[in-house]
Symmetry: C2
Subunit: 223 residues, 2 copies
């Protein structure tokens, strides 16, 4: 029997490639996405399109985190763009308090509900080194916590937290996605929610540079 896995799917490039990897590893995948007070829901539409492409189950969880102050959810903040500073900062302004912790926790609950024994998350420690909850030591610690605090953990088979792209550069991720025939053209990376990706925000710039370095054409539209 195929082993079940829950994949955290934002609809961006990284999580879509992570989903492709889980499927390539033979997992019976259920994707989980969150409507948590983002500025826009373009990513969620991309997540749905990716799930339809692969024919995998998709659970969208509504959770109102809009009261958590942060640049990504508070419209009073400006999104950083066209500045080199962000990656050097200790904690970027786009940090949403405990976001990965919250999302992994809900994914763990879904795992216990459906009998899945792993969570795949497209965290990346290369581009997001300033985020505490994107570092390998955090994921190890989270897995240990699950071993103590869940039914399956107590029964001796704690849920695994899989971070298959954590050490990859954006170019590596693009290459991996292309090798696995992942539908990268369906993904959305831009921090803004316009008709087309802006091409200027940090997320767009990382993506554009990744495709360039990997030697592939990015089929989404910019501008």
């Amino acid at each position: 029997m195929m082993r079940k896995a829950v994949v955290l799917l934002s609809g961006g490039l990284d999580s879509t490639v992570t989903l492709a990897i889980a499927l390539d590893e033979g997992k019976d995948v259920t994707a989980i996405s969150f409507r948590y007070g983002q500025r826009h829901t373009k990513e969620l539409k991309s997540a749905e399109a990716v799930c339809n492409h692969y024919g995998v189950g998709h659970s969208i969880i509504d959770i109102d985190l809009s009261s958590f102050r942060s640049a990504l959810t508070d419209k009073a903040f400006d999104i950083p763009s066209d500045r080199e500073g962000r990656l050097e900062e200790q904690i970027p302004i786009t940090y949403v308090p405990a976001r990965n912790i919250i999302f992994l926790s809900i994914a763990a609950g879904l795992c216990e509900s459906i009998g899945a024994d792993s969570i795949y998350i497209g965290a990346n420690a290369v581009d997001y080194s300033g985020y505490p909850d994107c570092r390998p030591e955090f994921f190890r610690s989270f897995r240990e916590m699950l071993a103590k605090g869940t039914k399956t953990g107590v029964d001796g088979s704690a849920i695994e937290v899989m971070t298959p792209i954590i050490d990859l550069t954006k170019a590596d991720i693009v290459r991996m996605g292309k090798e696995l025939n992942a539908p990268l053209e369906l993904t959305w990376s831009c921090y803004n929610g316009g008709e087309r990706a802006c091409g200027h925000c940090d997320s767009c710039r990382l993506r554009i540079r990744g495709f360039e370095e990997a030697g592939y054409r990015d089929e989404i539209e910019y501008g």
Copy 2:
């Protein structure tokens, strides 16, 4: 300046006494409750009444966990009642997968947002020894995970997880609540959501026995 704390408040006896303890310890309290697909919302109304009583801020987070199978949220299950078996079972049927993990994670996000440095949770290892996420070793592990995965943790001051009633019997909890003048008459413990508490479910029976053993009159109505 008073130190800020987030208190997980279900509206039941245990969490209300925990809130009273946090206030008694001089904390500037924000309470957090969850609307997560419970069978009834009597507890939430109690939580609001308790917050109004104390004049503390109250954040109610909507999160749809109704897709997680369990007796408390799935109306197809029967709630265990008038059976002695539950407390002896390894994992009770009322276990909601990863519920405390999810609630603590969201509370941690709220802590980071408002600058609180502790979470108070009314977990109890005496009556709920079968729940993996009610055990002291789980809370220690959760705190270690927060030290790795949050901004404040990385900055060297991880959020504390306070479990002041974890080793108390129900009678001890009633006594503590009475000593602190906590509004126990506003709390709701019954698993069912009728006009009055049923008096027969496990939760009612634990409460009734607790008041009896403590030598206090329970001022809520049963029957």
